[in-house]
Symmetry: C2
Subunit: 762 residues, 2 copies
Amino acid sequence: MRRLLLLLFLAHPFWCLAQEKDLVQYANPLIGTHKMGHTYPGATVPFGMVQLSPETDTIPYEVDGRYNPTVYKYCAGYQYDDATIVGFSHTHFSGTGHSDLGDFLLMPTEGKLQMNPGTEDNPESGFRSAFSHEKEQAAPNYYQVFLEDDGINAELTTSNRVGFHQYTFPESSEAHIILDMMYGIYNYQDKNVWTFIRVENDTLVTGFRQTRGWARTRTMYFAMTFSKPFKEYGTKDYSKKQVYKGFWRKFDPSKNFPEIAGEQLRMHFDFDTEEGEKIKIKFALSPVSTNNALENLNAEIPHWDFEKAKKEGQRLWQKEFEKIKVETSKAEDMVNFYTAMYHTFLGPTTYMDVNGQYKGLDQNIHQAKGFTNYTTFSLWDTYRALHPFFNIIQPKRNADMVQSMLAHYDQSVHKMLPVWSHHANENWCMIGYHSVSVIADAVIKGNAGFDANKALEACVVTANYRKYDGLGYYIDLGYVPEDKNSSSVSKTLEYAYDDFCIAQMAKKLGREDIFQKFSKRAENWKNVYDASIGYMRPKLSDGSFRKEFDLLSTHGQGYIEGNAWNYSLYVPHDPATMIEMMGGKKKFVKHLDSLFTMELPDEFFAHTEDITREGIIGNYVHGNEPAHHAAYLYNWTDQPWKTQERVRMILKKQYQATPDGLGGNDDCGQMSAWYIFSSLGFYPVAPGSDQYAFGSPAVEKASLQLGNGKTFEVEAIHQNDKNVYVKKIELNGKTLNRHYLTHSEIANGGKLTFYMSARPKK
Amino acid sequence: MRRLLLLLFLAHPFWCLAQEKDLVQYANPLIGTHKMGHTYPGATVPFGMVQLSPETDTIPYEVDGRYNPTVYKYCAGYQYDDATIVGFSHTHFSGTGHSDLGDFLLMPTEGKLQMNPGTEDNPESGFRSAFSHEKEQAAPNYYQVFLEDDGINAELTTSNRVGFHQYTFPESSEAHIILDMMYGIYNYQDKNVWTFIRVENDTLVTGFRQTRGWARTRTMYFAMTFSKPFKEYGTKDYSKKQVYKGFWRKFDPSKNFPEIAGEQLRMHFDFDTEEGEKIKIKFALSPVSTNNALENLNAEIPHWDFEKAKKEGQRLWQKEFEKIKVETSKAEDMVNFYTAMYHTFLGPTTYMDVNGQYKGLDQNIHQAKGFTNYTTFSLWDTYRALHPFFNIIQPKRNADMVQSMLAHYDQSVHKMLPVWSHHANENWCMIGYHSVSVIADAVIKGNAGFDANKALEACVVTANYRKYDGLGYYIDLGYVPEDKNSSSVSKTLEYAYDDFCIAQMAKKLGREDIFQKFSKRAENWKNVYDASIGYMRPKLSDGSFRKEFDLLSTHGQGYIEGNAWNYSLYVPHDPATMIEMMGGKKKFVKHLDSLFTMELPDEFFAHTEDITREGIIGNYVHGNEPAHHAAYLYNWTDQPWKTQERVRMILKKQYQATPDGLGGNDDCGQMSAWYIFSSLGFYPVAPGSDQYAFGSPAVEKASLQLGNGKTFEVEAIHQNDKNVYVKKIELNGKTLNRHYLTHSEIANGGKLTFYMSARPKK
């Protein structure tokens, strides 16, 4: 299955028309759609509200009241090795390890009306259809698939808030568009709370869908318009009994009745079509109201020209991609690089209507003043490299994302910055409160297009919310006790890092008191280090370390998504001290070497849910985030050449231009941001500091357009697959005799030159 | 049970303090709370959004999946003969025959925390409490009851959008306020769609409750503030399994956790209290958002002075009552009259925040420009006398109500004016579309403070919506065929009357084309008259009358809420022609006499749901509306003195100053409006015409303050219980030799003098 996708690109018009600077051609949305990447192949624009993408199954979240582990594969709705498509829905996460969304499934069909999706084994028993990858294309803002059951060609494109469908039908007097309001990702019985639909006229339908999923109180509104009037329409109501429906007997609610509500509804819209006739649908979203959805629709795509909409979206992608122009020695690396950029620009997503209104965490409607409101903050993942990447390449957007987090804070009944938030909800997923890292990183790097003092206050208040996840214990004891709160080591380490971030920000803002207090808290990682074994270890509330302890397991050992081998390295803000405590540089190199080379027992993989076996190198887990900085830690030893070697190996092993080319969840762009930084030769080991640790660049050349109008160039002389070691680094022609680059050196513009070699510089 | 309530008034402070002009003292909210009146005894201001009233049971809408007929008693939440109170909720209909609402039940308790309501037999098993009428008071904008179980005195008052609770506790370290978000009127499993609550701080709670009841898609928002910080609080979640609650394990959601959502929730707030300590709660509503609820709260009651709020609301009642000052020979009639006025001013209710925002039928948020938006239009009832009454006494409000109906029309996906609408929903209850009567009556009577031409268009479009309830058949055939659509005779008669209204309005607005067309349609009542039997009779689509036909039954005979005897008289816009068709005046008088005097078989009452046996006089059903004009029809014969006699008899029999004093549902004020008109001596037999038929006044004197600044006076010389016949009528001193008064004669101001006698003028 790991075959190269380049062949597919030959069929892609952009490949043929490619000009020197056409970068859109390189990004391949199918990468990561097989196995654990959890990316979606559909159409979207950079940071777009609409993610219009195919769904390949209707797996329920629960079977017989118990969690169905198969659902995990479908976090993004599509799995590359599936044989059928159920339809196309408008909202998707990219690369998450838990899911939600999948709003408003549309499916075109022909022939006898079928209101059930049918099964994968027998797609003709329902409205789903078989398809093949030979008749499928995916590109930024364009997805096409031929639906074999009924001979319908489906094409999708988008603007920020509008999905644009183009369905080419055969001649028929029974052409249908199904609107399935029951479909959802991570769907379980009763996830649909309420659905409301109005057929405004014979080309316009509006409504909303309210769900209680990962986002517990969520409503998405829509306005849907057809290029051609439907001749008939109808509703099939799968809801629980409508107790008061007696009053509705005045009408036949199943046919041509324009006022529909219930929990579980599907609709059909019927047409006559000529051979090759295209029926187009524009489907606008709003987090606020159907009126706003209509306004979004009319503002963004006031025409019916599918090609025009597609090109406008692709122009946006080209513009974003041009922010980093790279040259690579291998075509596949161009695909990997721009696909990584594509994935990093999929989110956070716009969560605001064209008129500036959005729904807040308090479920009130707010007006964004002077910023774009974003949602979907997978912060435990993305604080590491994605937001630092945005600070370089998307500083304005990153500042708006911080403003969105501050709005969340203002609206939070806890007075907490976001942990993992989406669609006007806090879902509390994972640990820490890494908003503070994102905010501190922006402040430290001079990208604070927001009220930095208010932001600092929000960070301090958040860091003192004692009710949150062991934080009260942490404040009192200096660590989270495992007998009081699970994953206690991970939490202690991450709280300590967050404390460092707050301290750095306070220092920059002249708040010495806060700096002192949080600098002290930032040393709390030491409290869970067990010198007797040389690892971080769960400590109990009586001050003793827990006796039972398994260094390899990731379950119940005081860690989450990482074992002691990986997670013990998590002191990104003070590797030097950590290395010293762990026995000094030599011993530490040994630890790192073992991490990358040891062989794990088979049973380890039996309990790993969100990474493939390929996502692990030795015991180093790249498919999860806690060790993403680990390869760079050799820089703090006497053997930085090992960083260079490991990084290049990871780049090669963990990122491939195939559907299953991602070794773990892309996690809203964090995995891809790691790829971009590392390809460019440096990485932000500790966001919130102004330093980037050097690695080994994989590109030949790169030109970064900074948000401030300046350009920063990277060149790797003698670059090739074997010359993975860095002999010399020059900044603006002057040799750099250190293992890091500072942010101001990038921000000032200039040129970084790596001299590559096949032999390590020992 | 029909004991006079006057004794109760002796305990009422208003009675003691009564000054000459204190009219608030006369209105008794307990009247109609026993048996079929379906009024509520709680606190509210005129046309207020909040109706804060006690609930005496938790009867479910369904038992074992089947309709539970007992629920019908609890349309307003309270039944006078119940022994316990469950709590106090904020929204109630007045006098309806179907129900909804009952939002946000509060209950103070003391001692061991109980989160279940318990049972009526054993109130101490739950948070409900026994109470007695000896320790209960009800007055406009004031309700008080002593809760015996825990020795707590509860007092309620309101402003338009804010409920104000005052609970006097004994000394306790376990005082509680229960917030029951599960309680509802006409409650059934799953009626609660979603509930969202935030504990903003230790005195403020916000949230919303969404239901799928009679209003299918309804959300009410709230903001609740305590006069004293609670020491602890907690939630009991009776919801279905929360599938994703794993992410919430960071917190204990049951105790002091401020972010709560689910379908079925109850909360408790705990206090320490001293003996006699008052804990006060202000509870604001909004149809739009929690932010708006807070704004309503702060705008309307910015203080904690319960007495002040109570007096302010009672001042509003006094102001409204002063619009008609009456003198009666009996104190009880004063109570009846001002209680009737009280009931007529309970609705339609304000459905708009202080900032002018409201939720529309399309579920979007709208801004009311230049009018107050109202909701709860029980139009099949209220078009008859309530809105005509408003046209005299509340012209500005009535014009705003019409504007509210026009906004509904604008927002309707059907493009229909309201039928029976409440809380941004059309519930489609009953028949016809009597908005057109209300609009036409306002236009004809010169109270069109709205765009009359647009209103006419809305009426015409509504009257041509073929999908609605047999209307397509009516348009094509001139009648609704019983084999196609049930209650066909009632519908035909009412559509014909509505057509008359449209025609009259069109004439006044110079639209001759519409006048002609609808004048013709207005004669359609003739199509269902069966001359062979002298009654209206269901006709089939083949043009023949249905053979099976029972003159007495109200079920399946082509009628709804009335039998052939009563409903055959429903040609309010052309009694003269009707009488002629029915065999002339003599025969018609016989029919009417029989109606009022015949004896009905017992089985008739077995099938009558919404009126007491006392609500029927002979076969004349005053407890339902279709024959409300019937007594006035003698005016079109040679024996108008029988109208006088019958009207006085109905006034006496059907309206008594006792809890069970109303013979049928008050129906949002229609029954009470009948009382007021008839007490004043005239009645609008055909709203949409400018005439009022004379009856026999029951007051001695009345002075009506018209909206235009003028005064219209009524005097009944020689008035007493026996002098029920009218010897002579003078308008401004000149004898009137006709049986009707015109609207302009009222609107111009002046004096109407009845000379009463014990003997009929034959």
